[in-house]
Amino acid sequence: MELLAEIGPWGAALTVAGIYAIFAIGLQVQVGHGGVDNFGQVAFFLIGAYASAILIERHDAGLVVGTLAAMAIAAVAAVIVSIPALRLRGDFLAISVLAFGEILRNVAINERELTNGSAGIDSLEFRVTFVRELRRTLREDGIEIDRVAPLLILTWIIVVVVALASWLLLRTPWGRVLRAVREDDAAVRALGKNAFAYKAQAMAIGAAWGALAGVLYSWHQVHFSPTSFEPIVTFTGFIIIIAAGLGSIWGTVLMAVLVQGVLIQGSRYIDTPLTNAQEASLRYMLIGVALMLMMRFRPQGLFGSREELAAADE
Protein backbone atom coordinates (compact mmCIF):
# COMPACT_ATOMS: atom_id res chain seq x y z
CA MET A 1 0.00 0.00 0.00
CA GLU A 2 3.07 2.20 0.22
CA LEU A 3 2.76 2.40 -3.52
CA LEU A 4 -0.57 4.21 -3.34
CA ALA A 5 0.53 6.78 -0.81
CA GLU A 6 2.35 8.99 -3.26
CA ILE A 7 1.64 8.39 -6.91
CA GLY A 8 1.90 11.95 -8.11
CA PRO A 9 1.66 13.10 -11.71
CA TRP A 10 1.98 9.66 -13.28
CA GLY A 11 -1.11 8.56 -11.42
CA ALA A 12 -3.07 11.35 -13.04
CA ALA A 13 -1.55 10.56 -16.45
CA LEU A 14 -2.51 6.90 -16.11
CA THR A 15 -6.03 7.84 -15.06
CA VAL A 16 -6.44 9.92 -18.19
CA ALA A 17 -4.95 7.07 -20.23
CA GLY A 18 -7.57 4.71 -18.77
CA ILE A 19 -10.33 7.19 -19.59
CA TYR A 20 -9.09 7.35 -23.18
CA ALA A 21 -8.92 3.57 -23.30
CA ILE A 22 -12.65 3.37 -22.49
CA PHE A 23 -13.41 6.19 -24.95
CA ALA A 24 -11.40 4.48 -27.70
CA ILE A 25 -12.90 1.03 -27.08
CA GLY A 26 -16.24 2.68 -27.82
CA LEU A 27 -14.78 4.02 -31.05
CA GLN A 28 -13.35 0.59 -31.83
CA VAL A 29 -16.82 -0.98 -31.57
CA GLN A 30 -18.23 1.67 -33.92
CA VAL A 31 -15.41 2.07 -36.43
CA GLY A 32 -13.43 -1.14 -36.17
CA HIS A 33 -16.38 -3.51 -36.04
CA GLY A 34 -19.41 -1.55 -37.21
CA GLY A 35 -17.63 0.37 -39.98
CA VAL A 36 -19.24 3.65 -38.95
CA ASP A 37 -16.67 6.44 -39.21
CA ASN A 38 -17.81 8.26 -36.11
CA PHE A 39 -16.00 11.60 -36.16
CA GLY A 40 -18.28 12.83 -33.38
CA GLN A 41 -17.46 10.44 -30.53
CA VAL A 42 -16.53 13.43 -28.36
CA ALA A 43 -20.25 14.34 -28.33
CA PHE A 44 -20.98 11.29 -26.19
CA PHE A 45 -17.99 12.05 -23.99
CA LEU A 46 -19.53 15.49 -23.47
CA ILE A 47 -22.97 14.03 -22.74
CA GLY A 48 -21.42 11.70 -20.17
CA ALA A 49 -19.56 14.47 -18.37
CA TYR A 50 -22.35 17.05 -18.37
CA ALA A 51 -25.32 14.74 -17.81
CA SER A 52 -23.68 12.97 -14.88
CA ALA A 53 -22.43 16.20 -13.31
CA ILE A 54 -25.86 17.82 -13.57
CA LEU A 55 -27.67 14.75 -12.27
CA ILE A 56 -25.26 14.03 -9.45
CA GLU A 57 -24.48 17.58 -8.30
CA ARG A 58 -27.85 19.23 -8.73
CA HIS A 59 -30.33 16.41 -8.48
CA ASP A 60 -28.56 14.15 -5.97
CA ALA A 61 -28.82 11.20 -8.28
CA GLY A 62 -25.87 9.45 -6.65
CA LEU A 63 -22.70 8.33 -8.38
CA VAL A 64 -23.96 5.03 -9.77
CA VAL A 65 -27.39 6.15 -10.92
CA GLY A 66 -25.95 9.37 -12.36
CA THR A 67 -23.39 7.40 -14.32
CA LEU A 68 -25.83 4.86 -15.68
CA ALA A 69 -28.32 7.57 -16.61
CA ALA A 70 -25.61 9.50 -18.48
CA MET A 71 -24.68 6.36 -20.42
CA ALA A 72 -28.30 5.71 -21.28
CA ILE A 73 -28.81 9.29 -22.49
CA ALA A 74 -25.74 8.98 -24.71
CA ALA A 75 -26.94 5.67 -26.15
CA VAL A 76 -30.33 7.14 -26.98
CA ALA A 77 -28.68 10.21 -28.51
CA ALA A 78 -26.51 7.91 -30.64
CA VAL A 79 -29.55 6.11 -32.00
CA ILE A 80 -31.28 9.41 -32.78
CA VAL A 81 -28.19 10.70 -34.60
CA SER A 82 -27.83 7.40 -36.45
CA ILE A 83 -31.26 7.60 -38.02
CA PRO A 84 -30.30 10.38 -40.43
CA ALA A 85 -26.52 9.97 -40.41
CA LEU A 86 -26.27 6.28 -41.27
CA ARG A 87 -28.11 6.91 -44.52
CA LEU A 88 -25.25 9.10 -45.68
CA ARG A 89 -22.20 8.05 -47.62
CA GLY A 90 -18.82 7.91 -45.85
CA ASP A 91 -17.52 11.46 -45.91
CA PHE A 92 -20.94 13.03 -45.43
CA LEU A 93 -21.54 10.79 -42.45
CA ALA A 94 -18.20 11.87 -40.99
CA ILE A 95 -18.99 15.56 -41.50
CA SER A 96 -22.49 15.20 -40.05
CA VAL A 97 -21.46 13.47 -36.85
CA LEU A 98 -18.54 15.87 -36.45
CA ALA A 99 -21.09 18.67 -36.78
CA PHE A 100 -23.28 16.99 -34.17
CA GLY A 101 -20.39 17.12 -31.69
CA GLU A 102 -19.76 20.78 -32.47
CA ILE A 103 -23.45 21.59 -32.06
CA LEU A 104 -23.44 20.02 -28.60
CA ARG A 105 -20.32 21.96 -27.65
CA ASN A 106 -22.02 25.10 -28.91
CA VAL A 107 -25.05 24.29 -26.77
CA ALA A 108 -22.81 23.72 -23.75
CA ILE A 109 -21.26 27.15 -24.30
CA ASN A 110 -24.55 28.94 -24.81
CA GLU A 111 -27.12 27.32 -22.53
CA ARG A 112 -25.72 28.89 -19.40
CA GLU A 113 -28.58 27.92 -17.14
CA LEU A 114 -27.98 24.26 -17.80
CA THR A 115 -24.22 24.11 -18.26
CA ASN A 116 -22.88 27.33 -16.77
CA GLY A 117 -21.51 28.21 -20.22
CA SER A 118 -17.83 28.61 -20.93
CA ALA A 119 -17.07 29.14 -17.23
CA GLY A 120 -17.58 25.41 -16.79
CA ILE A 121 -19.25 23.21 -14.25
CA ASP A 122 -18.23 21.33 -11.09
CA SER A 123 -18.27 17.61 -10.51
CA LEU A 124 -17.31 17.36 -6.86
CA GLU A 125 -19.22 14.41 -5.51
CA PHE A 126 -16.67 11.72 -6.28
CA ARG A 127 -13.45 13.60 -5.65
CA VAL A 128 -14.55 15.54 -2.62
CA THR A 129 -17.23 13.58 -0.82
CA PHE A 130 -16.50 10.00 -1.78
CA VAL A 131 -12.71 10.09 -1.79
CA ARG A 132 -12.49 12.10 1.43
CA GLU A 133 -14.74 9.61 3.17
CA LEU A 134 -12.79 6.68 1.79
CA ARG A 135 -9.44 8.08 2.86
CA ARG A 136 -10.71 8.81 6.34
CA THR A 137 -12.00 5.27 6.72
CA LEU A 138 -8.75 3.82 5.46
CA ARG A 139 -6.69 6.11 7.67
CA GLU A 140 -8.47 4.69 10.70
CA ASP A 141 -7.20 1.32 9.56
CA GLY A 142 -3.72 2.81 9.22
CA ILE A 143 -3.70 2.93 5.43
CA GLU A 144 -2.65 6.08 3.61
CA ILE A 145 -3.58 6.50 -0.03
CA ASP A 146 -2.98 9.29 -2.47
CA ARG A 147 -5.90 11.55 -3.39
CA VAL A 148 -5.83 10.39 -6.99
CA ALA A 149 -5.50 6.69 -6.18
CA PRO A 150 -9.22 5.82 -5.86
CA LEU A 151 -10.09 7.19 -9.29
CA LEU A 152 -7.00 5.59 -10.82
CA ILE A 153 -8.01 2.19 -9.47
CA LEU A 154 -11.68 2.62 -10.30
CA THR A 155 -10.86 3.75 -13.84
CA TRP A 156 -8.68 0.74 -14.52
CA ILE A 157 -11.21 -1.67 -13.07
CA ILE A 158 -13.73 -0.14 -15.49
CA VAL A 159 -11.23 -0.37 -18.35
CA VAL A 160 -10.91 -4.10 -17.76
CA VAL A 161 -14.67 -4.56 -17.43
CA VAL A 162 -15.45 -2.51 -20.56
CA ALA A 163 -12.73 -4.21 -22.60
CA LEU A 164 -13.82 -7.67 -21.50
CA ALA A 165 -17.50 -6.96 -22.07
CA SER A 166 -16.82 -5.52 -25.54
CA TRP A 167 -14.49 -8.34 -26.46
CA LEU A 168 -16.98 -11.00 -25.41
CA LEU A 169 -19.90 -9.22 -27.07
CA LEU A 170 -18.02 -8.91 -30.35
CA ARG A 171 -17.33 -12.64 -30.31
CA THR A 172 -21.02 -13.51 -30.19
CA PRO A 173 -23.14 -14.09 -33.31
CA TRP A 174 -24.19 -10.45 -32.90
CA GLY A 175 -20.58 -9.33 -33.35
CA ARG A 176 -20.28 -11.64 -36.33
CA VAL A 177 -23.24 -10.05 -38.08
CA LEU A 178 -21.87 -6.60 -37.21
CA ARG A 179 -18.59 -7.38 -38.95
CA ALA A 180 -20.51 -8.73 -41.90
CA VAL A 181 -22.41 -5.42 -42.06
CA ARG A 182 -19.12 -3.57 -42.13
CA GLU A 183 -18.02 -5.57 -45.15
CA ASP A 184 -21.23 -5.54 -47.16
CA ASP A 185 -24.44 -4.25 -45.70
CA ALA A 186 -26.55 -5.04 -48.77
CA ALA A 187 -25.59 -8.70 -48.51
CA VAL A 188 -26.59 -8.70 -44.85
CA ARG A 189 -29.95 -7.13 -45.63
CA ALA A 190 -30.50 -9.74 -48.31
CA LEU A 191 -30.17 -12.38 -45.59
CA GLY A 192 -33.05 -10.88 -43.64
CA LYS A 193 -31.04 -8.97 -41.06
CA ASN A 194 -31.59 -5.31 -40.37
CA ALA A 195 -28.15 -3.91 -41.17
CA PHE A 196 -29.14 -0.44 -40.01
CA ALA A 197 -30.11 -1.75 -36.57
CA TYR A 198 -26.73 -3.40 -36.15
CA LYS A 199 -24.88 -0.20 -37.00
CA ALA A 200 -27.13 1.87 -34.75
CA GLN A 201 -26.61 -0.60 -31.91
CA ALA A 202 -22.84 -0.41 -32.38
CA MET A 203 -23.16 3.37 -32.28
CA ALA A 204 -25.21 3.16 -29.07
CA ILE A 205 -22.80 0.80 -27.31
CA GLY A 206 -19.81 2.89 -28.37
CA ALA A 207 -21.63 6.01 -27.22
CA ALA A 208 -22.33 4.47 -23.83
CA TRP A 209 -18.64 3.70 -23.41
CA GLY A 210 -17.80 7.22 -24.56
CA ALA A 211 -20.20 8.62 -21.98
CA LEU A 212 -18.72 6.41 -19.25
CA ALA A 213 -15.32 7.84 -20.14
CA GLY A 214 -16.87 11.31 -19.92
CA VAL A 215 -18.20 10.62 -16.42
CA LEU A 216 -14.77 9.49 -15.22
CA TYR A 217 -13.21 12.49 -16.92
CA SER A 218 -15.52 14.85 -15.04
CA TRP A 219 -14.53 13.20 -11.75
CA HIS A 220 -10.90 13.45 -12.69
CA GLN A 221 -11.17 17.11 -13.62
CA VAL A 222 -13.51 18.14 -10.76
CA HIS A 223 -14.21 21.26 -12.78
CA PHE A 224 -14.55 21.22 -16.56
CA SER A 225 -15.75 23.43 -19.41
CA PRO A 226 -16.74 23.10 -23.08
CA THR A 227 -13.11 23.52 -24.23
CA SER A 228 -12.47 19.96 -23.05
CA PHE A 229 -14.77 18.62 -25.75
CA GLU A 230 -13.19 19.77 -28.95
CA PRO A 231 -12.99 17.39 -31.91
CA ILE A 232 -9.34 16.68 -31.11
CA VAL A 233 -10.53 14.31 -28.40
CA THR A 234 -12.20 12.17 -31.06
CA PHE A 235 -9.12 12.25 -33.26
CA THR A 236 -6.85 11.25 -30.40
CA GLY A 237 -9.19 8.29 -30.07
CA PHE A 238 -8.73 7.58 -33.78
CA ILE A 239 -4.95 7.63 -33.38
CA ILE A 240 -5.31 5.08 -30.60
CA ILE A 241 -7.57 2.69 -32.52
CA ILE A 242 -5.58 2.95 -35.74
CA ALA A 243 -2.31 2.38 -33.92
CA ALA A 244 -3.89 -0.59 -32.18
CA GLY A 245 -5.21 -1.91 -35.48
CA LEU A 246 -8.89 -1.59 -36.33
CA GLY A 247 -10.89 -4.17 -34.46
CA SER A 248 -8.42 -4.96 -31.70
CA ILE A 249 -9.87 -4.30 -28.24
CA TRP A 250 -6.88 -5.22 -26.11
CA GLY A 251 -4.52 -3.42 -28.47
CA THR A 252 -6.67 -0.35 -27.91
CA VAL A 253 -6.03 -0.49 -24.18
CA LEU A 254 -2.30 -0.78 -24.75
CA MET A 255 -2.23 2.05 -27.28
CA ALA A 256 -4.31 4.31 -25.05
CA VAL A 257 -1.58 4.03 -22.44
CA LEU A 258 1.18 4.65 -24.96
CA VAL A 259 -0.47 7.49 -26.85
CA GLN A 260 -2.37 9.29 -24.14
CA GLY A 261 -0.40 8.34 -21.02
CA VAL A 262 3.14 8.57 -22.32
CA LEU A 263 3.13 10.83 -25.39
CA ILE A 264 0.50 13.38 -24.46
CA GLN A 265 0.17 13.42 -20.68
CA GLY A 266 3.74 12.31 -20.03
CA SER A 267 5.20 15.00 -22.26
CA ARG A 268 3.72 17.63 -19.97
CA TYR A 269 6.40 16.79 -17.45
CA ILE A 270 9.30 17.33 -19.77
CA ASP A 271 11.01 20.68 -19.20
CA THR A 272 11.44 22.84 -22.26
CA PRO A 273 12.39 26.49 -22.63
CA LEU A 274 9.01 27.10 -24.28
CA THR A 275 5.97 28.70 -22.75
CA ASN A 276 3.08 26.48 -21.69
CA ALA A 277 0.99 27.68 -24.61
CA GLN A 278 3.75 26.83 -27.05
CA GLU A 279 4.19 23.43 -25.49
CA ALA A 280 0.47 22.82 -25.84
CA SER A 281 0.65 23.81 -29.52
CA LEU A 282 3.55 21.43 -30.05
CA ARG A 283 1.65 18.61 -28.38
CA TYR A 284 -1.28 19.08 -30.72
CA MET A 285 1.06 19.26 -33.71
CA LEU A 286 2.52 15.99 -32.49
CA ILE A 287 -0.95 14.42 -32.59
CA GLY A 288 -1.37 15.69 -36.13
CA VAL A 289 2.04 14.45 -37.25
CA ALA A 290 1.41 11.05 -35.63
CA LEU A 291 -1.90 10.76 -37.47
CA MET A 292 -0.35 11.74 -40.80
CA LEU A 293 2.61 9.39 -40.48
CA MET A 294 0.34 6.53 -39.54
CA MET A 295 -2.00 7.16 -42.47
CA ARG A 296 0.96 7.25 -44.80
CA PHE A 297 3.05 4.36 -43.51
CA ARG A 298 1.04 2.19 -41.10
CA PRO A 299 -2.67 2.62 -41.85
CA GLN A 300 -3.17 -0.96 -40.70
CA GLY A 301 -1.87 -0.08 -37.23
CA LEU A 302 1.39 -1.00 -35.60
CA PHE A 303 0.50 -4.69 -35.52
CA GLY A 304 -2.64 -4.95 -37.63
CA SER A 305 -3.12 -6.08 -41.18
CA ARG A 306 -3.87 -3.79 -44.09
CA GLU A 307 -7.11 -5.60 -45.00
CA GLU A 308 -8.76 -4.48 -41.75
CA LEU A 309 -8.58 -0.88 -42.91
CA ALA A 310 -9.69 -1.72 -46.42
CA ALA A 311 -12.67 -3.60 -45.05
CA ALA A 312 -13.56 -0.63 -42.88
CA ASP A 313 -13.98 1.39 -46.03
CA GLU A 314 -16.83 -0.64 -47.42
Partner: protein, 256 residues
Protein backbone atom coordinates in the same frame (compact mmCIF):
# COMPACT_ATOMS: atom_id res chain seq x y z
CA UNK B 1 -55.00 -18.73 -57.89
CA UNK B 2 -53.75 -19.66 -54.50
CA UNK B 3 -50.54 -21.28 -55.63
CA UNK B 4 -48.98 -18.04 -56.76
CA UNK B 5 -46.18 -17.36 -54.33
CA UNK B 6 -45.16 -14.03 -55.84
CA UNK B 7 -47.45 -11.58 -57.59
CA UNK B 8 -46.01 -8.47 -59.16
CA UNK B 9 -48.43 -5.95 -60.60
CA UNK B 10 -48.02 -2.59 -62.25
CA UNK B 11 -44.40 -2.09 -61.20
CA UNK B 12 -43.00 1.12 -62.66
CA UNK B 13 -39.65 2.71 -61.93
CA UNK B 14 -38.28 5.91 -63.46
CA UNK B 15 -34.77 7.35 -63.17
CA UNK B 16 -35.04 10.99 -64.09
CA UNK B 17 -36.71 10.99 -67.48
CA UNK B 18 -35.89 7.37 -68.23
CA UNK B 19 -38.55 4.74 -67.59
CA UNK B 20 -36.51 1.70 -66.55
CA UNK B 21 -39.48 -0.52 -65.73
CA UNK B 22 -42.86 0.21 -67.26
CA UNK B 23 -46.01 -1.18 -65.68
CA UNK B 24 -44.90 -4.81 -65.42
CA UNK B 25 -47.16 -7.62 -64.19
CA UNK B 26 -46.17 -11.21 -63.63
CA UNK B 27 -46.44 -13.91 -61.07
CA UNK B 28 -44.43 -16.88 -59.93
CA UNK B 29 -46.09 -20.14 -59.02
CA UNK B 30 -45.28 -22.10 -55.93
CA UNK B 31 -42.66 -24.72 -56.74
CA UNK B 32 -41.77 -23.33 -60.15
CA UNK B 33 -38.46 -22.33 -61.68
CA UNK B 34 -39.03 -19.11 -63.56
CA UNK B 35 -36.50 -17.25 -65.63
CA UNK B 36 -36.62 -13.49 -66.17
CA UNK B 37 -34.72 -12.65 -69.31
CA UNK B 38 -34.14 -9.69 -71.56
CA UNK B 39 -31.43 -7.98 -73.58
CA UNK B 40 -29.00 -5.55 -71.98
CA UNK B 41 -30.70 -2.49 -70.56
CA UNK B 42 -34.11 -4.15 -70.56
CA UNK B 43 -34.68 -3.21 -66.92
CA UNK B 44 -34.26 -6.74 -65.53
CA UNK B 45 -31.97 -5.66 -62.72
CA UNK B 46 -34.18 -2.74 -61.76
CA UNK B 47 -37.25 -4.99 -61.69
CA UNK B 48 -35.32 -7.54 -59.66
CA UNK B 49 -34.31 -4.83 -57.17
CA UNK B 50 -37.95 -3.72 -56.91
CA UNK B 51 -39.09 -7.27 -56.20
CA UNK B 52 -36.38 -7.91 -53.61
CA UNK B 53 -36.88 -4.53 -51.95
CA UNK B 54 -33.55 -2.89 -52.76
CA UNK B 55 -35.26 -0.22 -54.87
CA UNK B 56 -38.60 1.32 -54.08
CA UNK B 57 -40.80 1.36 -57.21
CA UNK B 58 -42.67 4.53 -58.22
CA UNK B 59 -45.86 2.54 -58.69
CA UNK B 60 -47.15 -1.00 -58.42
CA UNK B 61 -47.35 -3.69 -55.80
CA UNK B 62 -45.40 -6.78 -54.85
CA UNK B 63 -47.31 -9.51 -53.03
CA UNK B 64 -45.47 -12.41 -51.49
CA UNK B 65 -47.15 -15.45 -49.93
CA UNK B 66 -50.45 -13.63 -49.92
CA UNK B 67 -49.13 -10.46 -48.26
CA UNK B 68 -48.49 -7.05 -49.71
CA UNK B 69 -44.77 -6.42 -49.15
CA UNK B 70 -44.40 -3.38 -51.43
CA UNK B 71 -43.55 -1.08 -48.56
CA UNK B 72 -41.50 -3.64 -46.66
CA UNK B 73 -37.73 -3.24 -46.48
CA UNK B 74 -35.39 -5.70 -48.14
CA UNK B 75 -34.52 -7.42 -44.89
CA UNK B 76 -38.16 -7.76 -43.88
CA UNK B 77 -38.91 -9.48 -47.20
CA UNK B 78 -35.96 -11.80 -46.68
CA UNK B 79 -37.25 -12.67 -43.21
CA UNK B 80 -40.52 -13.73 -44.78
CA UNK B 81 -38.66 -16.13 -47.05
CA UNK B 82 -37.91 -14.16 -50.23
CA UNK B 83 -34.13 -14.20 -50.39
CA UNK B 84 -31.91 -12.95 -53.18
CA UNK B 85 -28.36 -13.46 -54.37
CA UNK B 86 -26.18 -10.95 -56.18
CA UNK B 87 -24.79 -10.80 -59.69
CA UNK B 88 -21.28 -10.58 -58.32
CA UNK B 89 -21.38 -13.07 -55.47
CA UNK B 90 -20.97 -11.42 -52.10
CA UNK B 91 -18.88 -12.97 -49.38
CA UNK B 92 -17.82 -11.54 -46.05
CA UNK B 93 -14.13 -11.78 -46.77
CA UNK B 94 -12.84 -11.25 -43.26
CA UNK B 95 -15.04 -13.98 -41.82
CA UNK B 96 -14.43 -17.69 -42.15
CA UNK B 97 -16.41 -19.68 -44.68
CA UNK B 98 -18.20 -21.39 -41.81
CA UNK B 99 -19.12 -18.05 -40.19
CA UNK B 100 -20.39 -16.78 -43.53
CA UNK B 101 -22.90 -19.62 -43.61
CA UNK B 102 -23.75 -19.76 -39.91
CA UNK B 103 -24.51 -16.07 -39.55
CA UNK B 104 -27.24 -16.34 -42.16
CA UNK B 105 -29.43 -18.62 -40.05
CA UNK B 106 -32.75 -17.11 -39.07
CA UNK B 107 -34.18 -16.91 -35.55
CA UNK B 108 -30.85 -16.90 -33.79
CA UNK B 109 -31.11 -15.69 -30.24
CA UNK B 110 -27.58 -14.48 -29.84
CA UNK B 111 -27.37 -12.41 -33.00
CA UNK B 112 -29.79 -9.86 -31.58
CA UNK B 113 -28.62 -7.49 -28.93
CA UNK B 114 -30.41 -8.47 -25.74
CA UNK B 115 -29.72 -12.12 -26.46
CA UNK B 116 -26.06 -11.55 -27.21
CA UNK B 117 -25.51 -10.07 -23.75
CA UNK B 118 -26.67 -13.24 -22.00
CA UNK B 119 -23.98 -15.94 -22.09
CA UNK B 120 -25.21 -19.37 -23.01
CA UNK B 121 -28.56 -18.22 -24.31
CA UNK B 122 -29.74 -20.05 -27.40
CA UNK B 123 -27.09 -22.70 -27.07
CA UNK B 124 -29.30 -25.47 -28.39
CA UNK B 125 -30.32 -23.38 -31.40
CA UNK B 126 -26.66 -22.73 -32.01
CA UNK B 127 -25.84 -26.41 -32.05
CA UNK B 128 -28.49 -27.06 -34.68
CA UNK B 129 -27.22 -24.12 -36.74
CA UNK B 130 -23.70 -25.51 -36.61
CA UNK B 131 -24.76 -28.93 -37.83
CA UNK B 132 -26.95 -27.50 -40.56
CA UNK B 133 -24.10 -25.25 -41.76
CA UNK B 134 -21.83 -28.27 -41.71
CA UNK B 135 -24.24 -30.18 -43.92
CA UNK B 136 -24.59 -27.30 -46.38
CA UNK B 137 -20.84 -26.85 -46.63
CA UNK B 138 -20.58 -30.54 -47.33
CA UNK B 139 -23.25 -30.41 -50.03
CA UNK B 140 -21.45 -27.60 -51.81
CA UNK B 141 -18.00 -29.10 -51.43
CA UNK B 142 -16.70 -26.37 -49.14
CA UNK B 143 -16.08 -28.50 -46.06
CA UNK B 144 -12.31 -28.47 -46.27
CA UNK B 145 -12.38 -24.68 -46.68
CA UNK B 146 -14.68 -24.15 -43.67
CA UNK B 147 -12.10 -22.53 -41.45
CA UNK B 148 -10.43 -20.39 -44.13
CA UNK B 149 -11.32 -16.74 -44.58
CA UNK B 150 -13.92 -16.28 -47.30
CA UNK B 151 -11.56 -13.81 -48.97
CA UNK B 152 -9.32 -16.71 -49.99
CA UNK B 153 -11.99 -18.46 -52.09
CA UNK B 154 -11.99 -18.61 -55.89
CA UNK B 155 -14.77 -16.99 -57.89
CA UNK B 156 -16.63 -20.25 -58.38
CA UNK B 157 -16.33 -21.13 -54.72
CA UNK B 158 -17.72 -17.75 -53.79
CA UNK B 159 -20.75 -18.44 -55.94
CA UNK B 160 -21.29 -21.73 -54.12
CA UNK B 161 -20.72 -20.11 -50.75
CA UNK B 162 -23.31 -17.47 -51.50
CA UNK B 163 -25.74 -20.17 -52.52
CA UNK B 164 -25.10 -22.16 -49.34
CA UNK B 165 -25.41 -19.02 -47.24
CA UNK B 166 -28.71 -18.12 -48.85
CA UNK B 167 -30.09 -21.62 -48.25
CA UNK B 168 -29.18 -21.26 -44.59
CA UNK B 169 -31.97 -18.69 -44.30
CA UNK B 170 -34.51 -21.39 -45.26
CA UNK B 171 -36.03 -19.41 -48.11
CA UNK B 172 -39.40 -20.09 -49.72
CA UNK B 173 -38.53 -18.15 -52.85
CA UNK B 174 -34.97 -17.81 -54.04
CA UNK B 175 -34.20 -14.87 -56.29
CA UNK B 176 -31.00 -15.51 -58.23
CA UNK B 177 -29.42 -12.53 -59.96
CA UNK B 178 -27.56 -13.84 -63.01
CA UNK B 179 -26.50 -17.11 -61.38
CA UNK B 180 -24.55 -18.09 -64.50
CA UNK B 181 -22.62 -14.87 -64.94
CA UNK B 182 -18.88 -15.46 -64.78
CA UNK B 183 -19.40 -19.16 -64.10
CA UNK B 184 -17.95 -22.00 -66.15
CA UNK B 185 -20.52 -24.38 -67.72
CA UNK B 186 -19.69 -27.25 -65.37
CA UNK B 187 -20.33 -25.13 -62.32
CA UNK B 188 -23.45 -23.67 -63.93
CA UNK B 189 -24.84 -27.15 -64.46
CA UNK B 190 -24.01 -28.05 -60.89
CA UNK B 191 -25.82 -24.99 -59.59
CA UNK B 192 -28.94 -25.89 -61.51
CA UNK B 193 -28.75 -29.50 -60.34
CA UNK B 194 -29.00 -28.07 -56.85
CA UNK B 195 -31.90 -25.89 -57.90
CA UNK B 196 -33.79 -28.85 -59.37
CA UNK B 197 -33.06 -30.98 -56.32
CA UNK B 198 -34.20 -28.28 -53.89
CA UNK B 199 -37.46 -27.90 -55.74
CA UNK B 200 -37.92 -31.64 -55.74
CA UNK B 201 -37.04 -32.23 -52.13
CA UNK B 202 -38.27 -29.10 -50.43
CA UNK B 203 -40.72 -27.56 -52.86
CA UNK B 204 -38.61 -24.42 -53.06
CA UNK B 205 -39.50 -21.80 -55.67
CA UNK B 206 -36.97 -20.03 -57.90
CA UNK B 207 -36.94 -16.87 -59.94
CA UNK B 208 -33.74 -16.05 -61.71
CA UNK B 209 -32.49 -13.32 -63.99
CA UNK B 210 -30.39 -14.17 -67.00
CA UNK B 211 -29.20 -12.29 -69.99
CA UNK B 212 -29.03 -14.98 -72.62
CA UNK B 213 -32.16 -16.74 -73.85
CA UNK B 214 -30.42 -19.98 -74.79
CA UNK B 215 -28.87 -20.67 -71.40
CA UNK B 216 -32.17 -20.60 -69.55
CA UNK B 217 -33.97 -23.03 -71.84
CA UNK B 218 -33.06 -26.29 -70.16
CA UNK B 219 -33.18 -24.84 -66.68
CA UNK B 220 -36.56 -23.23 -66.35
CA UNK B 221 -40.16 -24.25 -66.74
CA UNK B 222 -41.37 -20.76 -67.46
CA UNK B 223 -39.76 -17.72 -69.05
CA UNK B 224 -40.67 -14.06 -68.67
CA UNK B 225 -39.18 -11.67 -71.21
CA UNK B 226 -38.54 -8.01 -70.60
CA UNK B 227 -37.49 -5.48 -73.23
CA UNK B 228 -37.10 -1.74 -72.79
CA UNK B 229 -38.77 -1.92 -69.43
CA UNK B 230 -41.92 -3.69 -70.60
CA UNK B 231 -43.07 -7.27 -70.48
CA UNK B 232 -43.11 -8.75 -73.99
CA UNK B 233 -43.33 -12.47 -73.41
CA UNK B 234 -44.47 -14.93 -70.77
CA UNK B 235 -44.83 -18.66 -71.13
CA UNK B 236 -43.19 -22.03 -71.60
CA UNK B 237 -39.57 -21.80 -72.80
CA UNK B 238 -40.21 -23.21 -76.26
CA UNK B 239 -43.19 -20.97 -76.88
CA UNK B 240 -41.26 -17.91 -75.83
CA UNK B 241 -38.27 -18.81 -77.96
CA UNK B 242 -40.43 -18.88 -81.05
CA UNK B 243 -42.36 -15.72 -80.20
CA UNK B 244 -41.86 -13.12 -82.92
CA UNK B 245 -41.72 -10.17 -80.50
CA UNK B 246 -39.05 -11.87 -78.42
CA UNK B 247 -36.92 -12.67 -81.44
CA UNK B 248 -37.36 -9.10 -82.62
CA UNK B 249 -36.29 -7.71 -79.23
CA UNK B 250 -33.18 -9.83 -79.10
CA UNK B 251 -32.16 -9.28 -82.69
CA UNK B 252 -33.16 -5.63 -82.79
CA UNK B 253 -32.05 -4.54 -79.33
CA UNK B 254 -29.47 -7.05 -78.21
CA UNK B 255 -27.46 -7.56 -81.34
CA UNK B 256 -27.20 -3.91 -82.30
Amino acid sequence: MNDELLQVSGITKRFGGLVAVDDVDFSVEQGSITALIGPNGAGKSTLFHCVSGFIRPDAGTVRFAGRNVTRRSAHARAQRGMVRTFQIPTAFNRLTVRDNVELAARDQVADRLPGAFVPGLGRRRRASITSRAEALLDTFGLSDKADDLAGTLSGGQRKLLEFARTLMTEPKLLLLDEPLAGVNPTLGDRLFEHVARLREEQGMTFLFVEHDIRTVMGHSDRVIVLAQGALIGDGAPDDVRNDARVIEAYLGGGAA
